[in-house]
Amino acid sequence: MSFLLRCPNCGVREVTDFGFGGELSQRPRARPSLRELSTYNYFRRNVAGVQREWWYHRSGCRAWFYAERDTRTNVVLWTALPGSEPQAATVTAADDRPTSSGGVGG
């Protein structure tokens, strides 16, 4: 499992730079039954498809942000800081390249 994520602050990085925070789940607002509480605490939808989830840039700016990722292919559709506009996660334009993290140029 090796893919890239765009940290909204720092830019594109290897997935190993980040900590995974789990799929987005809604915390119960009103007093839940024991079953609802247990579902919230212990069960996940775990979809085989596009999932909205939390990531934490633990080796960088330590910000928490959302991502939408297809769990079948690990293609990340977008990332965004909470409250911000989603930014396309994968780099597609030629002039918008991931920066090299060190190393000798050609």
Binding site: S2, E14, R62, W64, L81, G83, A93, R97, G102, G106
Partner: protein
């Protein structure tokens, strides 16, 4: 010495001699030699003994693909002599032969052991009698494997550097196609990395007369900005990340497009005695002569399925090797054979080789017409050149998701459809001849750049033109014969797999036993699982499987391509061989004081300073100081800081007055205890939160996550590493602090649970008066740069009253006396505050929601099965932490989580989870500690100063 006269592209420097040792003998070499070329030049013909049968093996491929020349260099096994450069003074040793290469006792398995060691023998033989298993195991362990690893730690030191390289285009393979592709993409503006595993880039050009051309291409590529990783192996394709191992560095290359130009792998033939030293791949022999001016032999017989073999033999003939006879499996007499025939070689078309004869090395080759029948002829020779076709080196593109399609014309598995982002160029993509290979490279490089959005309409047109020219340049491919799966099987062992000593007969046996699919037979015979990873044997084994099962090769199929493609040491992948250790800024003082330092998580901490019992007692009698800089320290500021803390903890903090401290226990939303610490309100909008040492990171993440989700107006700053903290405790603590503090320490002015800011020993500090170890105490936080000064000042100020530093061990005893729990030691991921004897921490009498509220409401209504309580032992034995609390003599019902002897109380005390029914003062419990039964009584109140009067003094 079999050194040839000067060869045009030789890599050796005849003026510079190098000496090294092989099995104790000194060997003379030249700079530029490989270990293999130098040894061969010195007359060595046996380089190793095979894996199972311990048969002699000599140089075969000369390009690092087969297993025959594996040796140990300076104690490190698994080195391929044929590509490893010589260095002055290296100590080279053989592998897998005892007592020597020349006389190996294990050869007995070849002569007699056959019946005992068929494929999968370990499922059939050496099973009965079972009581001999330890003996079998010992013998087999000794016999298995190639080479011995050094045992001592410092001899095995390995340090790998990691480098993350993001690029536009990664080109794997630095031959003609790869260099062309890399240059084309780079000239269009792409950021290109090229990886090549040869002694220098150039691929086949280096040995077939194109070395100068190769160097010119390399210069052009560099000028275009290509980063070339030389002597580097691409290990695999992991979802678009290709790790490249180069010396001591692992480059993790992530490129947006991949161009594979890895070429083809020359194939051997399967015939009787095909593993004898003196049988070499024609291209391998060519390399030995062209690059190192070493004569592979004097009189050679060539067996070939294509023109490539004829060309290789012709160049060897030019170098001085006599070609005696040629068995060409094809029908027509090729023009490439003319130079050989004119020099006297006898050409036999539609013939193949059935046997290599000889004892230690080749002494003759038996050629026979294809299709059986008579007419076998033996030709005396000392070298057999084998050119059995080639197979694309397609492992990496296959790993990326490309399909393999069997090509009838070439008799091998070619690359079919490629996934998006992956390109194949050159011989790998079945282009033949210089012109086509170069065009193909340029085309794929251009296409890769176009796919990235580089280039323009002219570039697009160029790509179309190149593709057109490529079609035209597709040379009339010289015909290639498809060899029979095996010939001469009646004459002796015919090896399909050199690495694992699997013969054609073994494959027949395997199918007969029912392992008739390629994936099953691979695992049963271990074919393709050795050092060559299928380079030499995958195609051969597919043909043999097809013959045995009556299937065509495309029906047999290939086994799944898997990384690593090249043997790589575990150390290169396993990560850096050091453990990061964190030390407090005061650490050097502990060393000077002779502390016993041990790991606590990833911190190095002082466990005690020589006498833990005395240290604990001196805290109680006078004063002690402990370095607690490892505590997590978080600063929360903002208008909603108090509100935030109310949400995060089961008790309240928004009502904490400025300058006051309160203990907090954090729970998860399932109501489980996750961490504990103290919180001091600095002012209206600022709170200083401490956490456990090991929980610091987790709490910071937890807080910042909820802040991100709720978007409250709170700023979180992690001060864990920025501040030091020391705890001064004991009846004399106040007078010691007073003597160096600028503020009033009078008990009325500085009450229990007050937090004060001021200068201590001239250093700005936050001082929290808390009950850390059950005595009058002050936790002093200061900037890390002043930690040592503060420590020294406290020790000096307390010298008169007998202050002693104390470590984690005495701290443990003191806290246990007060029944302070250690989160993670006395609690686990299921413990809630009610069961852990802390019901007072949960404040349900407020309306507000907080993390864990609902779970705790449920927990409050339920009686938990077990409760955390204190106990004291009846006897003097300290039970092991983790011992089981039993009822009815043997039913486990709880466990001991902490236990220590208290010198102050002169008894053994501890904490344990016990059944709720027993959780009352004086109840008797039984502890089972590894077979021993111990008795104890429950104590529910702290063992020392239960009312906390000493703390509040």
């Amino acid at each position: 010495m079999s050194r040839l006269p000067q060869q045009p592209d030789e890599r050796i420097d005849r003026a510079r001699a190098i000496n090294f040792s092989f099995d104790g003998r000194t060997v003379a070499a030249l700079e530029g030699d490989t270990i293999g070329s130098a040894l061969h030049a010195a007359g060595q013909r046996t380089f190793s003994r095979s894996f199972k049968y311990h048969r002699r093996r000599g140089l075969f491929c000369c390009v690092g693909q087969c297993p025959n020349c594996l040796v140990a260099v300076d104690g490190a096994p698994g080195v391929r002599a044929c590509v490893e450069p010589v260095r002055e003074g290296i100590r080279v040793e053989h592998l897998n032969a005892r007592p020597s290469l020349e006389f190996d006792v294990m050869r007995a398995t070849d002569l007699f052991g056959g019946p005992f060691t068929p494929p999968g023998f370990y499922y059939k033989t050496f099973i009965r009698p079972r009581r001999l298993w330890p003996l079998y195991e010992k013998v087999l362990r000794h016999a298995a494997g190639l080479g011995v690893l050094r045992r001592s730690q410092d001899e095995r030191e390995w340090r790998t550097e990691y480098r993350r390289r993001h690029a536009d285009v990664l080109v794997v393979g630095g031959g003609l196609a790869g260099l062309s592709a890399a240059t084309a993409a780079a000239e269009l503006g792409a950021d290109v990395v090229l990886v090549d595993d040869g002694p220098e880039p150039g691929g086949r050009m280096l040995a077939d007369g194109g070395a100068e051309q190769a160097r010119a291409l390399v210069a052009t590529a560099r000028a275009a900005g290509v980063e070339i990783l030389e002597r580097a192996s691409a290990l695999g394709y992991y979802d678009g990340m290709v790790p490249v191992w180069q010396g001591d560095t692992l480059h993790q290359v992530r490129a947006r497009r991949h161009v594979f130009a890895t070429g083809t792998i020359d194939q051997p033939l399967v015939f009787s005695g095909n593993d004898l030293p003196g049988v070499m791949l024609a291209e391998g022999a060519r390399r030995l002569a062209a690059l190192y001016a070493v004569a592979p032999g004097e009189r050679a017989v060539l067996v070939t399925t294509s023109d490539r073999g004829l060309e290789a033999a012709a160049s060897l003939q030019t170098a001085g090797v006599t070609i005696v006879a040629i068995a060409d499996l094809r029908r027509e007499r090729r023009s490439a054979a003319e130079p050989l025939i004119s020099a006297g070689a006898e050409l036999l078309t539609e013939h193949t080789i059935v046997e290599a004869t000889g004892r230690r090395t080749v002494s003759g080759a038996v050629l026979a017409p294809l299709g059986g029948g008579g007419g076998r002829r033996r030709y005396p020779c000392d070298l057999i050149l084998v050119s059995g076709g080639s197979t694309p080196a397609s492992s990496l593109p296959l790993q990326s998701g490309a399909r393999a399609e069997y090509s009838q014309a070439d008799g091998h598995f070619a690359l079919g459809e490629l996934p998006d982002g992956v390109h194949a160029a050159g011989e790998l993509a079945d282009h033949g001849g210089q012109a086509a290979v170069a065009l193909s490279g340029t085309l794929e490089g251009t296409r890769a750049a176009l796919a990235l959005g580089l280039g323009d309409d002219a570039t697009r047109q160029l790509a179309v033109d190149l593709a057109q020219r490529l079609l035209g340049a597709a040379a009339e491919r010289s015909p290639v014969a498809i060899p029979p799966p095996v010939s001469g099987a009646d004459r002796g062992k015919c090896f399909a797999c050199l690495c694992e000593d699997v013969t054609s007969k073994d494959i027949g046996l395997t199918v007969a036993e029912g392992y008739d699919s390629i994936e099953l037979s691979k695992r049963y015979t271990t074919v393709t699982m050795g050092p060559c990873q299928g380079r030499m044997c995958q195609l051969a084994s597919v043909r043999l499987m097809g013959a045995e099962t009556g299937q065509a090769p495309e029906q047999v199929g290939l086994t799944t391509a898997r990384p690593p493609w090249t043997t790589v040491p575990m150390g290169a992948l396993a990560g850096r061989p050091f453990e990061p250790a964190k030390r407090s800024a005061i650490h050097s003082r502990h060393r000077t004081l002779g502390a016993t330092v041990m790991w606590a998580g990833d911190w190095r901490r002082a466990y005690h300073y020589g006498n833990p019992q005395e240290e604990a007692l001196s805290v109680h009698r006078a004063a002690g100081v402990i370095d607690v800089s490892t505590l997590g320290k978080l600063l929360l500021r903002g208008p909603q800081a108090g509100e935030f803390l109310d949400m995060m903890y089961p008790n309240r903090f928004s009502n904490l007055a400025a300058g006051r401290v309160r203990y907090g226990v954090m729970t998860s939303d399932a109501g489980r205890i996750t961490d504990d610490g103290t919180i001091c309100r600095l002012d209206e909008q600022s709170f200083y939160v401490t956490t456990t040492s090991s929980g610091a990171g987790a709490v910071e993440q937890w807080f910042s996550w909820w802040l991100a989700d709720w978007r409250m107006d709170v700023h979180l700053t992690d001060l864990t590493q920025a501040l030091c903290a020391v705890n001064l405790a004991g009846p004399r603590a106040r007078e010691i602090l007073s003597s160096i503090a600028e503020f009033d320490c009078d008990p009325e002015q500085f009450k229990y649970l007050d937090g004060r800011r001021g200068l201590v020993a001239g250093v700005p500090c936050l001082v929290l008066r808390i009950g850390f170890v059950g005595e009058l105490g002050y936790e002093i936080h200061c900037p890390a740069a002043h930690g040592e000064h503060l420590w020294d000042a406290l020790l000096e100020a307390g010298a008169d009253v007998g202050i002693r530093p104390f470590g984690l061990e005495p701290q443990r005893v003191l806290r246990l006396q007060k029944m302070h729990i250690i989160v993670g030691q006395d609690t686990d991921s299921e413990s809630n505050p009610y069961a852990a004897a802390m019901p007072w921490i949960v404040k349900l009498d407020r309306d507000q929601d907080f993390i864990g509220r609902w779970a705790l409401e449920h927990a409050a209504e339920q009686q938990s099965e077990t409760q955390l309580v204190g106990f004291e032992m009846t006897g003097a034995t300290v039970p092991t932490e983790g011992s089981v609390v039993v009822i009815d003599g043997r039913t486990p019902a709880g466990q001991v989580t902490s236990a220590r002897f208290s010198p102050q109380l002169e008894k053994v005390i501890g904490l344990a989870w016990v059944p709720a029914a027993l959780a009352s003062d004086g109840a008797a419990i039984t502890i089972s500690d590894a077979g021993t039964t111990l008795q104890a009584q429950i104590v529910t109140q702290p063992f020392y100063d239960p009312a906390g009067e000493v703390l509040r003094s």
